[in-house]
Symmetry: C2
Subunit: 279 residues, 2 copies
């Protein structure tokens, strides 16, 4: 084991102690890579969520997923055995709609066509901003160029990016997320995107506020060391990394700036540790 | 006129004097935005090239265009009235082929299908690098994801980007160039691209060397303040900006760090100035 990995493990053990010393009153869970991988549930995750529900520990599923409508995300989770409802979900689309309405913005939607109905009656005529989500297979040259031209034609261009994820693990391998396409448009236009979703502090704090708790009482569990763990830590939550989803190899170089408050094999291990501590 | 524009104009006048004081023995010309806009020649540019040829001032057409085969670039120029041959062209594809052969690299070609024959007998089996050009309408999710997965699967990933242009002016408006897609892949993979093409110093210096001149004897004329003008200046050439092509409005904010050695309305004005000086 190389020296920096040894140092990282030591730091993490110290951090795990910290994680377990302070009370944990609520939990935020990522969906992709924590509850499920592609279309499969991750072993033990259905039981882990059931354990949280039995122990009456409040939680929210905090996702950046925007390639499918909210009702599809929910029905997929139910099919996999998760007994969750819409109120358990925190998704970027309702969050950006709140901002659009507050600021009287009319978006050009660079969004997967199936997700457009989630925007309801939002006025998209004569757009004065762009909202970019994970359009997945609909990210093609013509659509990106249209988005680019819209922004270049705006007097005060505003770009919202629903998350900044680099990639996620899909059924057939790693898959590009919205982040790379947002970086493409940022570079071409010189416009810096406003991120709605993880790792935006407001997104985590809104979730904590729904639990009626303080940030230091809440733990975020995710498979993305920057977006989930670092993002949560930046606003006072604790962040736990799971070795499932996009987490690839234990020998991966430890992240330069983010040190998780704990690293666990999977969600079930995290929940068992938390329940044990709370008892 | 705002203060910073006034300062910029003053600096440019001083620079124009500098441009005309030192001898000019050779010229590098951008194609898109200088000789032609989309499928149309820019008024006066055919005559300007003829004047250079009559005056026996050596020149090269230094382009980053990689969305069409070299023979198509050449035949388009001929159709528009430019009497140029393949030896007048400096294109990124032959430049990257030289590097691939020297370093025994086998590329995954993220290239417009029509341009693949320009790579000749290059071995593309079991790739150990990626070469990314302006794939234009072929930039779609599946192709970008394939390129991303190839890089993520390499032990020592190498990414070549044929230019880093943000956009160019096409017949129906501004069009995204290769740069934004390169930034997308850089962000997703964490691999920094090696640029082959403008503004890479080696690319300009190879062109100067073909003219058998020294950098300070050569002027680059282009419509991209960063890639053409700044790139040329970075390796000792002079750089002149034309107000055609992607140059949009005189009131555009002057560039923060690049001050052209001259700004002219079009290629014809630049060539007239240079010929007048040389006589």
């Amino acid at each position: 084991m190389s020296q920096n990995i040894t140092a990282f493990v030591k730091k993490t053990i110290m951090a795990c102690e910290k994680l377990l010393q302070a009370p944990i009153k609520g939990i935020l869970l990522d969906i992709s890579g924590v509850l499920k991988d592609g279309s499969q549930s991750i072993p033990g995750s259905v039981e882990a969520v059931k354990s949280l529900q039995s122990a009456k520990i409040p939680f929210r599923l905090v996702t950046n997923e925007t390639s499918r409508p909210i009702k599809t995300i929910l029905s997929t989770l139910k099919t996999l055995g998760f007994e969750v409802t819409e109120k358990d979900l925190i998704c970027p689309v309702p969050a950006v709609i709140k901002i659009l309405k507050k600021d009287n913005l009319r978006p050009f939607l660079m969004i997967h066509p199936e997700v457009i109905p989630d925007f309801g009656d939002i006025d998209t005529s004569n757009p004065n901003c762009v909202v970019m989500g994970d359009a997945a297979e609909c990210f093609h040259y013509k659509f990106l160029n249209e988005c680019f031209r819209k922004l270049m034609g705006m007097k005060n261009p505003i770009l919202f990016s629903l998350g900044q994820g680099k990639y996620f693990r899909d059924d057939d391998g790693l898959a590009l997320d919205v982040g790379p396409f947002c970086k493409a448009i940022e570079y071409a236009t010189g416009v810096k995107a406003i991120v709605v979703g993880k790792p935006s502090p407001q997104y985590f704090l809104d979730a904590v506020s729904e639990l009626k708790l303080q940030p230091n009482e809440v733990v975020m569990i995710g498979d993305d060391v920057v977006s989930d763990v670092g993002g949560a830590q930046n606003c006072g939550l604790r962040g736990v990394l799971v070795r499932t989803g996009k987490y690839m190899r234990e020998t991966d170089e430890p992240h330069k700036s983010v040190v998780p408050d704990g690293i666990v094999d999977n969600l079930q291990e995290a929940v068992n540790l938390i329940l044990k501590r709370n008892s």
